[in-house]
């Protein structure tokens, strides 16, 4: 990976500690983690009310859906386009905690609340949507004004080179993580994924969410044009939610592989112990 710009002080006893995450990052990280979990689980409840997705302005039961989670009398299935996967036990047909068979799309363990309640799912979702929006706005402002974006997340010219990116991909695939001073900075894939989440995926979730609001459609009808209609916005909202889940899974995997205690401690206290350079 990238060479260290400043050499690590030699022969220092004990690990080198760097102050890696400032307080706003730590606070927002944990509030946002809880908020996104609640939004995901309450969002799956809302999806359960109509487990079909469409493109365009309109879409209801008699219109062609590009994604359906449904059930037959003895199975559950997921259909995407013309491709159908049997999902009995997980999606479309599953057994609840009381042993009763349910045919809601997502199972109770994945939704808020666990029993079907569109009304309550919406209450949780639409309150925590405020939490997400306010938190993200504050964090983006801080990242822009406080130098976090410029100093830590800004992708340098050299990092854009395909060779550099490919090298980082290979290093990740081989679980070869940066050590020493290089570990104090984000790699190109980290920068791209964090910037992607903060400045693309989360704003996209909020914008597509607002596009589903009939009130907001009257205030800002251009939202409908940006996303190609309310049902398209709903589809993009759903797809982006799963992209965030994918980010979360990779994020957790990398945290576990890179050293969970050090990684989690740094997101609580701010202090990160640099993994020592391998002795040649």
């Amino acid at each position: 990976m990238a060479e260290a710009e400043t050499p690590v002080a030699p022969e220092r006893p004990g690990p080198v500690r760097v102050y890696r995450h400032r307080l706003p990052t730590r606070i927002w990280h944990w509030i946002n983690a809880a908020t996104l979990l609640i939004l995901l689980m309450s969002g799956l409840m809302i999806f359960n009310a109509h487990p079909r997705l469409y493109w365009g302005e309109y879409g209801a039961n008699f219109d062609r859906a590009w994604l359906v989670i449904g059930s037959t009398p003895d199975s559950g299935y997921l259909r995407i386009g013309d491709y159908r996967i049997e999902t009995t036990g997980v999606l479309g047909r599953w057994t609840d905690a009381q042993g009763a068979v349910q045919t809601w799309a997502f199972p109770g363990w994945a939704t808020i609340p666990t029993r079907y309640s569109l009304a309550d799912g919406r209450r949780w979702h639409l309150l925590f949507a405020w939490m997400l929006s306010i938190g993200l706005t504050l964090y983006m402002s801080w990242a822009l004004l406080g130098g976090h974006l410029r100093k830590d997340l800004h992708v340098r010219r050299a990092e854009w080179s395909p060779r550099h990116i490919w090298q980082d991909v290979k290093d990740h695939a081989r679980l070869r993580f940066p050590r020493g001073e290089a570990a104090a900075r984000y790699g190109i894939l980290q920068k791209l994924s964090y910037v992607g989440v903060i400045f693309v995926a989360l704003p996209l979730m909020i914008a597509t969410g607002l596009t589903m609001s009939p009130g907001m459609n009257a205030a800002w009808p251009w939202l409908l044009d940006v996303f190609g209609g309310r049902q398209s916005a709903r589809s993009i909202h759903f797809i982006t939610a799963w992209a965030l889940v994918a980010f979360f899974l990779v994020h957790i995997a990398m945290m576990l592989l890179a050293g969970p205690v050090n990684e989690i401690r740094s997101m609580i206290t701010g202090w990160f112990r640099l993994p020592p350079e391998k002795q040649a």
């Binding site: 302005e57 309109y58 008699f62 036990g89 009304a119 209450r123 009939p214 009130g215 009257a218």
Partner: protein, 259 residues
């Protein structure tokens, strides 16, 4: 490769059993206990108030819902909720083509009215092709014709002290008649109409014949069907269970359904 490979269903069932053993299920019912706690309900309802206040501040009072062209109509407009009100009364109205249907306009008005469908069709009409958004997530585009509610309210001389308009319906769901309500901003909105036609034809029974509300900047359950009374009130407290609508009273749907 059969033999030792468990069928997927069986595997999933075992995984479910393991999860239960690990204490996931008690945890989940704990989540539902949080969901049901009165203090939590109070906090959750803050979201509705934040949405209502910010949308009222952000959206021009007269800002219109998007109107579409005939080419954009849904091939079939999905009816929802009651599709045929029960009872001999409604059946008799259907048999007579709603000739004796009356819409009473009461409450805080100077001149209470009792309007026949002929009276309503004789008033100035508005036609609008709009998108109907169900709280469940689906949408359908339909063309509606009817009289602006503001026109009816003006004809009745609605009082300055009226804060809400209540719509009473002829369809009974379970133990009570359906009803809905809105504030005066939406009541006076140009696209808020009492519609008697869908896509150029007389309103089908499943869609709320003979008269239904269109309140285009809110979700579907606000659009009361089979309307037979319009009441101007100062407060919703004494109407139903006091939350302003059938579903609001029963399962805690938001009264403000602009989002």
């Amino acid at each position: 490769m059969s033999g030792i490979v468990l069928p997927r269903r069986q595997l999933i069932a075992r995984a479910g059993g393991l999860a239960a053993a690990a204490g996931v299920l008690p945890l989940l019912s704990g989540c539902d206990a949080i969901n049901d706690a009165p203090a939590v309900r109070k906090i959750l309802s803050m979201g509705e108030e934040m949405s209502r206040a910010s949308q009222r501040a952000l959206i021009d009072r007269g800002a219109l819902a998007r109107e579409f062209g005939r080419a954009d109509l849904s091939p079939y407009f999905r009816p929802n909720g009651t599709r045929l009100p029960a009872g001999a009364d409604y059946a008799a109205h259907v048999a007579s083509g709603f000739a004796d249907w009356r819409v009473r306009v009461t409450g805080l008005v100077a001149r209470p009215l009792s309007l026949s469908m002929a009276d309503i069709r004789a008033m100035p009409q508005r036609t609008q092709i709009t998108r109907h958004d169900c709280v469940e997530g689906w949408s359908a585009i339909g063309g509606w014709t009817g009289v602006q509610l503001s026109h009816i309210l003006a004809a009745a001389g609605v009082s300055e002290s009226a804060r809400h308009i209540v719509f009473r319906c002829a369809d009974r769901l379970g133990d009570a008649l359906y009803y809905e309500s809105c504030d005066m901003v939406d009541a006076r909105h140009p696209q808020t109409i009492m519609a008697w036609a869908l896509n150029g034809a007389v309103l089908p029974i499943a869609n709320g014949a003979p008269l239904r509300l269109r309140i285009e900047r809110q979700l579907g359950y606000k659009h009361a069907k089979y309307v037979n009374a319009i009441e101007a009130v100062a407060s919703l407290d004494s109407i139903g269970a006091g939350k302003g609508g059938y579903w609001e009273d029963r399962i805690d749907y938001e009264w403000y359904a602009g989002i």
